[in-house]
Subunit: 310 residues, 2 copies
């Protein structure tokens, strides 16, 4: 059996990052970039997005070397999407200083013919109308995963509602889960979101790990605790990419695989934050991943059943 691919649709960007350790400009970023790099550790990736004339060919070539098919990356006239943000001293919060949509303003995703039957589809955090356009073009995927953000939750609730009906797994953060539902308690908010469409839900909580909900109940995986966090940019996208990559690789959505996929997502997120932009993520080897997963498991292993002592 041939290894399945994952289709990733979303942003490629330039980020300007004002960190406590200094300002880093023109850092290659974008949700689809991070997700593709992470997923490519597990399976072939098909990437759809848009870049401007200023985006280096070298980055695309690097992605291609990792097994990312960039045939769906359109080079448009103008500048690449750019985001500028400033992080708090402890890196726990950030504020957006500037967003320049540039070529992203007129982006309409065109899924190449050869990509349309990709079984695993990830819709990055783009306008819900564009997410629906992607879904209209693909053919009966096995799994559709989507991300979104506050901007669309408040600005396009109806369209987002349509997306949610067509999505198998929604991956959002805790604030977004609260904003979608108006419910503070995450267990209750998760139940409400799952009623609106997604069979599976992941609520990302940054350094506090991730909660997963399905018909069988809840599952929790912690963030991997690091001694040094350099740059949280892209951690959530790396999480989603690692998760999708793993699911695509194993070709199964059963309960244990979903759980393991979440751990792999957390592991990829932990690598991501170890360097500025995608720097560290790009260097991760299969050996690094194996070692991190082993250490991750020692963090959570209870060493046997946790029964009441007699």
């Amino acid at each position: 059996m041939n290894q399945s691919s994952v289709l990733i649709v979303g942003s490629l960007a330039y980020d300007d990052l004002e960190m406590p350790t200094g300002t880093f400009e023109n850092v290659v970023g974008g949700a689809a970039t991070y997700a593709s790099i992470a997923a490519s550790l597990f399976c072939p990736v098909r990437l759809v997005g848009v870049i401007g004339e200023d985006f280096p060919n070298l980055v695309i070539t690097d992605l291609e070397k990792r097994g990312v098919d960039a045939a769906g990356v359109e080079r448009a006239k103008g500048k690449t999407f750019r985001w500028r943000g400033r992080y708090s001293k402890d890196l726990s919060t950030r504020e957006t200083l500037d967003t320049q949509l540039n070529v992203f303003a007129d982006f309409r995703p065109k899924i190449p013919e050869a990509f349309k039957s990709t079984p695993y589809v990830m819709l990055g955090n783009i306008h819900p109308a564009l997410q629906l356009e992607v879904l209209a073009q693909v053919e009966r995927p096995k799994l559709v995963v989507a991300d979104t953000m506050n901007f669309w939750i408040t600005g396009e609730p109806k369209l987002l509602g349509e997306v949610m009906k067509k999505v198998d797994l929604l991956v959002i953060n805790d604030e977004e889960a609260r904003e979608i539902t108006g419910i503070h308690n995450l267990v209750k908010a998760a139940n409400e979101i799952r009623k609106r469409g997604p069979k599976y839900l992941i609520v990302k909580r940054g350094e506090h790990g991730a909660l997963y909900f399905d018909d069988a109940g809840a599952f929790f995986a912690p963030a991997y605790p690091l001694e040094e966090v350099v740059d949280p940019t892209g951690a959530g996208d790396s999480f989603a990419g690692g998760l999708m990559g793993y699911l695509t690789r194993v070709g199964s959505l059963d309960h244990p695989h979903m759980r393991r996929a979440i751990y792999f997502g957390c592991a990829l997120g932990s690598f991501c934050v170890e360097g500025i932009g995608p720097r560290r993520l790009l260097d991760v080897t299969q050996g690094d991943l194996k070692k991190r997963m082993e250490q991750f498991m020692t963090l959570v292993e209870t060493g046997g059943p946790v029964g009441i002592p007699s």
Copy 2:
């Protein structure tokens, strides 16, 4: 072999709780109260503390019925220690509105002769000078656990340093770990704290679970996710009591037992927050505990080894 006991020294109190759902006054509280109730699900408890003339005999009788030996609870002239706090709407933060030390102001712990050889000792969050007085009275305990708070970290750093040298396991929250060390990163802060004395360290993170550190590395357990949190008061003390109760019951500090003890601590914390004050905690049966632990394990079980798929 007779079942070992745990010695718990700390506060018994009246709490006035201003919750989003209403104000609840004269609620029986205190760290030692919560810890004793939790620990008594696992083993006999020996309690040392002070109450005023206003503290109901019925509460003491109830504790005694649970296997708590209250011979060390001194009834002093005056009023019981009282704390008044107000919780934020989402219960995630609280502010102290008033603290009346009352009989606690002159409290000097006197360990009854019959309690002095108790193998497991828990020093609640009291003045470090009093914690040292307790340690001077007990005979070579197998495990000494201590809690502390910001007030002593900033006010009595030297005495607290002395306590830390004599403690096996320190149980504090994340802000306290940062305050003791001046280090924001919890992994680094934990390493620094363990250099100052405690062989084992638990960093409580409230709804975000607990981190445990020993020579073998780090371990993480999440908080049990609840649909309804009623009152977080005493959750950390119930956690510590459940943890100590379990360790005392099994009579072992080996790595797997430590990890399971942390899960039992989290389970007791989760019961505690389900009712105002210790109300729910007092009703917890062995059956409730067994059921919660089973559900807790489904929350974290990966369903097999999490290896890289081939």
